[in-house]
């Protein structure tokens, strides 16, 4: 006897596969190699919010209605992060990585999957404090145009920035945070001198190629959303974007262990998950 619900679950799996294929064919966004369990939660969540009873209805809707797809895209993309999430990571950048990179006359940094920009400005602050920001260009990329617009505006709710102080201090920050943003009502806006050094652009780890040579790639909690095949592609892309001896930082619970394309990267610090290109 098949337990109730099991057959349904398999139909939903099939519907999700078809939805992702439809998104790819119609809009050229490739979610087909995203890890399925999280993708399923997001699709079902989007369905509930749109009051749709079936995934196939969602597919029907997005095929004909680009505005609906734009809405769905936000819900399928990598979620927002925090300022200085995982202080040990930023501490390691401050103490171990950036002092080595300071020897370059000019620096390029790539924040891959930047979402709404929290990590971009965290890095910009770090670079500023080490006196490197003026000769650094940060490429901040994401697949979601709406997230990129939010990131570029650099406006955040005051409430979200409060936790920032604690993380910032824990990561070794010593300045006053008031130096980096202006508060207005319940929002804060980060200073132009941080934003001026950032170029935001649309880039997909699933479909796009290397676009620059950089000394540091920061891509945290993005790989966990990919299946192994797409992870391999992304890691290869990071490797190929790095200068020899360039650095790659990933999420605190991510690992490059066992990936083909990670063979040419060495682990610098397990605690902070920072890797370095061998040659």
């Amino acid at each position: 006897m098949t337990a109730p619900g099991v057959a349904d679950d398999h139909v939903v799996d099939l519907e999700i596969e078809l939805l992702l294929e439809a998104i790819w064919r119609r809009y050229s966004y490739d979610f087909r190699h995203y890890a399925r369990a999280s993708m399923r939660r997001r699709v079902l969540g989007a369905m509930r919010r749109l009051h749709l009873a079936r995934v196939s209805l969602l597919q029907d809707g997005i095929l004909r209605d680009p505005a609906l797809f734009t809405q769905l895209l936000t819900q399928l993309s990598v979620p927002v992060s925090d300022f200085f999430r995982d202080p040990p990571y930023f501490q390691a950048l401050r103490q171990q990585v950036l002092p080595l990179l300071a020897t370059y006359p000019s620096l390029k940094v790539w924040v891959a999957g930047c979402s709404t920009g929290e990590e971009v400005y965290s890095l910009a602050i770090l670079l500023e404090e080490l006196g490197l920001l003026d000769r650094t260009l940060i490429y901040a990329t994401d697949i979601n145009p709406e997230a990129l617009r939010t990131a570029e505006a650099a406006v955040y709710p005051q409430a979200r920035v409060q936790g920032f102080s604690r993380n910032y201090q824990a990561s070794g920050g010593s300045a006053s945070l008031g130096d980096y943003y202006t508060a207005a009502y319940d929002r804060v806006v980060f200073d132009r001198r941080l934003r001026n050094r950032v170029t935001f652009s649309d880039h997909s780890l699933a479909t796009d190629a290397v676009f620059a040579e950089v000394q540091l790639v920061s891509c945290r909690n993005v790989l966990i959303y990919f299946d192994r095949q797409l992870q391999e592609r992304a890691i290869e892309l990071f490797h190929d974007s790095l200068v020899p001896r360039g650095f790659l930082g990933i999420g605190s619970r991510e690992s490059l262990h066992g990936y083909k394309s990670a063979g040419a990267l060495e682990l610098v610090s397990r605690e902070s998950r920072i890797y370095r290109r061998l040659t």
Partner: protein, 199 residues
């Protein structure tokens, strides 16, 4: 009761055990985990509500008293017959091939990791091969997920509310479905008795 449960497990053997606990978790797990047999035979995944900004000490905390080795869950790895804890500030999910996945999606019931996220993914991925265990807690997290495991045909056990430090979470689950209720130590003994039948 213990032998009845062991026989039920033999009839429909679970291939995955998922556990959720919140307030009172350390006491409840302190009874369940030491009662597990060394040859548990299947992976056990545990979500405990922990503060996001701390390193989780749970695997180290229970290692000395648990015959099965305890560790933190890692993304895209295939679990074996050990006890895995969700890392702080990450959801833990199961993929259809049985491998583990992490996410930083929005908290559910104000929690990341969330018990519902783990339980629902197990219900979808493993279905009737799941044993879901919900322990002490002050939240409503896990109630819906356990119902989903039940609907998928899996085994569902809830800590009897009177034995829990905080009975809110067990009661929330029992309000939805009439799950099996017992104390955590007996759960461990039932699993041990099932493995004995297996041997």
């Amino acid at each position: 009761m213990i032998h009845e449960l062991a026989r039920a497990l033999r009839e429909r053997p679970p291939t995955l055990i998922v556990v959720g606990a919140s307030a009172g978790a350390v006491e409840a797990l302190g009874q369940l985990l030491p009662a597990l047999p060394a040859g548990l035979g299947v992976p056990m995944l545990i979500v405990v509500h922990v503060p996001p900004d701390r390193r989780s000490a749970l695997p180290e905390l229970f290692a000395p008293s648990c015959a099965v080795s305890t560790l933190e869950a890692e993304d895209k790895t295939m679990p074996d017959a050990r006890v895995y804890f969700a890392p702080p500030d990450y959801h833990l999910l199961v993929e259809r091939d049985g491998s583990l996945a992490l996410s930083v999606d929005e908290p559910v019931h104000h929690s990341r990791p969330s018990i519902d996220v783990l339980f629902e993914s197990a219900a979808e991925a493993v279905g009737s091969g799941t044993l879901g265990i919900l322990l002490s807690g002050a939240s409503h997290d896990g109630a819906e997920g356990l119902r989903r495991i039940h609907v998928a045909g899996g085994h569902t056990w809830v800590q009897s509310p009177e034995t829990a430090q905080v009975g809110v979470m067990p009661r929330a689950a029992l309000a939805l479905v009439d799950h099996v209720t017992l104390d955590p130590r007996s759960m461990g003994h039932a699993l041990a008795a099932w493995r004995q039948l297996h041997a």
